[in-house]
């Protein structure tokens, strides 16, 4: 992963973490706030509903009292207070009065509890409604819930009783509203709330007795546990019902028991508060938060990338510069604007490379001087040999001329022969130096190393098994698909020849000469190894020095030439050796053209700021 990518990832992680934390925090706080508001809202609505319920009770009471106070009722009471009053006259009165006062139930009951007229069940005339005549001050009782027997079965009603007293006789006006779906429909509730009523009219839980404003509730069985709890212990409680797996389908019910006159549980009112709007709103906020977070993240993504790019660009340049240096282009400059640490690093880098270049120059100079010294030493050494016989021969001539003039001609002939021979020797020495000095610059072109190795090996095949010398067995291990390299085929061939010659020289008793090529990482490898006498560590160090030789004959330039050729190709040569085992030369040649320019590589900042 690149530095830019790492920086970008770290930026993103930090951004995601902070955005995530903020989002989670916002969600939690929002949810909590919503819950709080919802709770307060619901409590207020439940309270409002309770007041509405109570108001309906007062309304029923007022209507019943209004009927009791009305003149026809008073006249009825007066009439019925007389002895032998004919109550049959009034048997049909209740229905009309109930309708005009919008009551579902209305009974006129005599002082002995006999029903005079019944609106809802007119056939009940004459039967007793004894609970009405129980000693109770109806004036202070107010409205109450009651279970009534109707033609359709038991029903729940909100009732009130008013009394009209004439003398010692009472006429009771018993009226009320049925608590059913119409009652629930008449209650004013916000759109997300609904009212359910369980009519506790039978001993066992009956799903059909749970109604809403439209009638029996679907899936009423879900409420059975709540209702059973109320039947066991009537208390105000809340219950939550999740209708589906979706949290938005949940509904919180405030359960309010409805008690009768003797505190018996007659009904259970459930005020349902749908969580859908809250959950939906929460989800909206959440999605909004997520959306904002996503936008933020996206923005952060882009910003992070830009920042990372800005921050890492100089570092990249530095890295590129270092790469160049590692590839040998020591004269690399990195231009980084800015005075921060990166800028300072770039400056230091540039200083370093400059120093490297200078040092290399000095090293080259030193090497050159050393090389010249070595060449001078070698030259002096080489030249000294032939020069001494030359001097001796000339001195012999001088002596002969002066001392033995009769032998001068013979001595002259002998001495001139020696002089000419040594002059030839000097010419050879000079020729070798000239050859070494006149090594041309390589002319690069695509070269197949395997081909060169094969050709050179073929060239020496005859010598490997020459008569009069122990045989040398060549082994070729040439990699398939070796990429072509940019090289001078002639010089490369010469280098291979010198390596083979060197190996042959190292195996006077014969042996195995192995030639191996392998594909490297951006380069190709050539290994030339023998099973000769091997080299000592000191010899290994100096093996590539010009004119250094371990042989009794030879100029000592062969491996120096190989090294020069390899270096001119931008490659590297190394040696491994063990005395008595053999020696291996490893040549690495790059596949791309070597840098020969001495011009500096400047790595500029891209997209320079204006």
């Amino acid at each position: 992963m690149t530095f830019r990518s790492k920086l970008f990832v770290n930026f993103m992680l930090a951004l995601l973490l902070s955005v995530g934390l903020v989002t989670a925090g916002v969600t939690v706080v929002t949810r909590h706030a919503f819950d709080e508001i919802n709770r307060e809202h619901t409590d207020a609505l439940v309270s409002q509903f309770q007041k509405e319920f109570d108001r309906r009770g007062h309304d029923v009471l007022n209507r019943v009292q209004g009927i009791a106070d009305a003149e026809p009722t008073v006249r009825m009471a007066i009439d019925l207070s007389r002895p032998n009053a004919d109550i049959s006259v009034y048997v049909n009165d209740a229905r009309g009065v109930a309708q005009s006062h919008q009551l579902d139930f209305l009974d006129f009951v005599g002082t002995d509890g006999s029903i005079i007229s019944s609106a809802e069940w007119s056939a009940r005339f004459g039967y007793k409604m004894e609970w009405v005549t129980q000693k109770e001050d109806w004036a202070t009782r107010g409205s109450f819930l009651m279970k009534l027997d109707t033609q359709e079965g038991p029903a729940l009603a909100l009732m009130a009783v008013a009394t009209v007293r004439v003398g010692d006789k009472d006429l009771y006006v018993v009226g009320g509203e049925r608590l059913g779906k119409e009652f629930l429909a008449s209650l004013v509730l916000p759109s997300n709330m609904r009212a359910l009523l369980y009519l506790n009219l039978v001993p066992k839980f009956e799903p059909a007795n749970l109604i809403d404003s439209a009638g029996p509730v679907n899936e009423a069985e879900r409420f059975e546990p709540v209702i059973e709890r109320e039947r066991t212990q009537p208390v105000v409680q809340t219950a939550k019902i999740d209708w589906t797996f979706d949290a938005a389908s949940a509904e919180i019910f405030h359960v309010i028991p409805q008690l009768g006159r003797q505190n018996e549980l007659l009904g259970v009112l459930l005020i349902g508060d749908s969580q859908r709007s809250v959950v939906t709103l929460e989800r909206h906020i959440l999605w909004l938060a997520v959306g904002v977070a996503a936008i933020g993240i996206l923005f952060g993504l882009m910003l992070s990338w830009w920042v990372a790019a800005r921050v890492t660009r100089p570092v990249q340049k530095l890295a590129a510069g270092a790469r160049e240096v590692s590839e040998g282009n020591w004269n690399t400059r990195v231009v980084v604007r800015g005075r921060d640490e990166v800028g300072q690093l770039a400056q230091s880098f540039n200083q370093m490379t400059q120093q490297l270049v200078d040092q290399r120059e000095r090293l080259i100079q030193a090497e050159r001087v050393a090389a010249w010294r070595e060449v001078a030493r070698r030259l002096a050494h080489e030249l000294k040999n032939p020069l001494f016989p030359l001097q001796t021969t000339v001195e012999n001539l001088q002596r002969a001329s002066s001392q033995n003039p009769e032998q001068f001609e013979e001595v002259f002939r002998e001495s001139t022969g020696i002089l000419l021979s040594e002059i030839e020797n000097l010419k050879a020495i000079v020729g070798r130096f000239s050859d070494f000095a006149k090594m041309p610059q390589p002319e690069l072109g695509p070269v197949d190393l395997n081909t060169i190795v094969r050709n050179v090996e073929k060239l020496f095949e005859a010598q490997f098994s020459a008569v009069g010398r122990p045989p040398i067995t060549p082994e070729l291990h040439l990699a398939e698909g070796l990429p072509t390299i940019q090289a001078d085929a002639t010089l490369l061939r010469r280098a291979v020849e010198n390596l083979i010659l060197n190996a042959m020289d190292a195996m006077p008793a014969g042996g195995v000469l192995m030639l191996r090529t392998t594909n490297g990482d951006g380069d190709v490898h050539l290994e030339v190894s023998d099973t000769g006498t091997g080299l000592t560590p000191e010899e290994t160090e100096r093996i590539f020095t010009p004119y250094y030789t371990t042989k009794q004959h030879g100029t000592g330039l062969g491996l120096a030439i190989v090294q020069a050729i390899v270096a001119d190709h931008g490659g590297r040569i190394s040696v491994e050796s063990e005395t008595g085992v053999g020696t291996a030369f490893h040549v690495e040649l790059p596949t791309r053209p070597p840098h020969h320019q001495a011009a500096p590589v400047v790595i500029e900042e891209e997209n320079e700021e204006a």
């Binding site: 049959s88 006259v89 048997v91 069940w121 056939a123 009940r124 005339f125 004459g126 039967y127 033609q151």
Partner: protein, 365 residues
């Protein structure tokens, strides 16, 4: 001069399916035909009677014009304009407002009409309202079930409250003025006895009492019987029998004899109008009518049967328990102030509209 009459439900098809209302059609037919045969069929052609049919709009109105050539003399009124389909309350209102001269009023509205100033004429009770346990219903063939229900019924409450004292409790099939022995049949309610008898019925069935959906009196009485039964612990519900159900029960064109199987009830209320003041004739007619409903097979009574025979036959039917007489109803008519010479028709007689005349000097502010 015209006399407007308001009669309910004169559609022939309806009358055919409602034998109780066939009486109304029979009343009008009696104005158009000269006489009836012994079996009650009209003799002669329509228009041979005191009136001719001069206009007819089915279910809405009809006009009867005086028959100038009637053998017993032209009626005093020139024509009778009949309006059909008016409800009982509307008929009373029409009488109150003098928009009608004659109308039949349900017995339970007679008192109210009189209180409102309507001139009311009520006959002796000549129509029996009875509860009949339909034959073929396994639940009600238990004698205890019938007895319990019969004992629970409070006839006095029905007469006093529902009928507003226009009627009499009925213990037998014939009224006192006809048979002379009606007092021998008890009309008292016995709620305690009913409860005790019902407790012996196991398992306790849930029973259905049917009533005519178009008859408010039957509905009120049925509801009261349900309440009385409930007090005795008897599970009884009332149910309106629709016109189509009744039509099916009557088999369409097979005549007025109903087939009880088509009625989805265990018992039903039945109105039985006396075709004659003579007890034997009326009882015979009742047996004919009740036979298919209640599975009664009484031997036919001669017209001249003695009171003892009539009583025995009546007692036999009552003791069988399949018929429970409830109340006797009078025929009540409302008359305008200008109607003169109105004679209350006897049982089985038609409306004496051919004999009345209108006093145009009677004026009402």
């Amino acid at each position: 001069m015209e006399i407007g009459a308001i009669i309910h439900s004169l559609d022939p098809a309806v009358a055919a399916a409602n034998p109780e209302e066939a009486g109304a059609k029979g009343e009008l037919d009696a104005l158009l035909y000269d006489r009836r045969s012994e079996n009650g069929d009209f003799v002669g052609t329509a228009g041979s009677g005191p009136f001719r049919l001069s206009a007819w709009e089915s279910g809405k109105s009809a006009v009867f014009a005086a028959n100038e050539d009637y053998r017993e003399g032209r009626p005093f009124v020139d024509s009778i304009e009949i309006q059909m389909g008016r409800s009982a309350h509307d008929r009373v209102l029409d009488l109150e407002l003098n928009k009608a001269d004659f109308a039949q009023i349900p017995a339970e509205l007679a008192r109210q009409a009189a209180d409102r100033g309507v001139r009311v004429s009520a006959s002796r009770p000549n129509e029996l309202l009875a509860l009949v346990f339909l034959t073929g219903r396994g639940t009600t063939e238990n004698v205890r079930v019938r007895e319990a229900i019969a004992r629970s019924i409070n006839r006095a409450a029905i007469v006093n409250f529902i009928l507003q004292k226009e009627g009499e409790p009925a213990g037998g099939l014939l009224p006192q003025w006809s048979s002379g022995t009606a007092f021998l049949f008890s009309t008292e309610a016995d709620a305690r006895g009913a409860k005790e008898i019902w407790a012996q019925v196991s398992p306790s069935p849930k029973l259905v009492l049917g009533y005519d959906s178009a008859d408010t009196l039957e509905q009120s009485v049925a509801e009261r019987i349900v309440v009385d039964a409930k007090e005795a612990g008897i599970s009884l519900v009332s149910r309106a029998i629709s016109a189509s159900e009744k039509a099916n029960a009557h088999g369409g064109s097979e005549g007025p004899t109903p087939h009880s199987e088509a009625i989805h009830a265990d018992a039903r209320l039945v109105r039985l109008r006396m075709p004659s003041p003579l007890p034997s004739v009326s009882l015979a007619a009742f047996i004919d009518r009740l036979g298919p409903l209640a599975g009664i097979n009484g031997s036919p009574l001669p017209k001249s049967a003695s009171p003892e025979d009539v009583y025995d036959s009546e007692r036999s039917i009552i003791n069988g328990g399949s018929v429970v007489p409830l109340v006797w109803l009078p025929q009540v008519y409302g008359l305008s102030a200008r109607v003169r010479d109105w004679k209350q028709p006897a049982a089985g007689e038609g409306w004496p509209l051919a004999d009345v005349w209108l006093d145009s000097t009677t004026d009402v502010h």
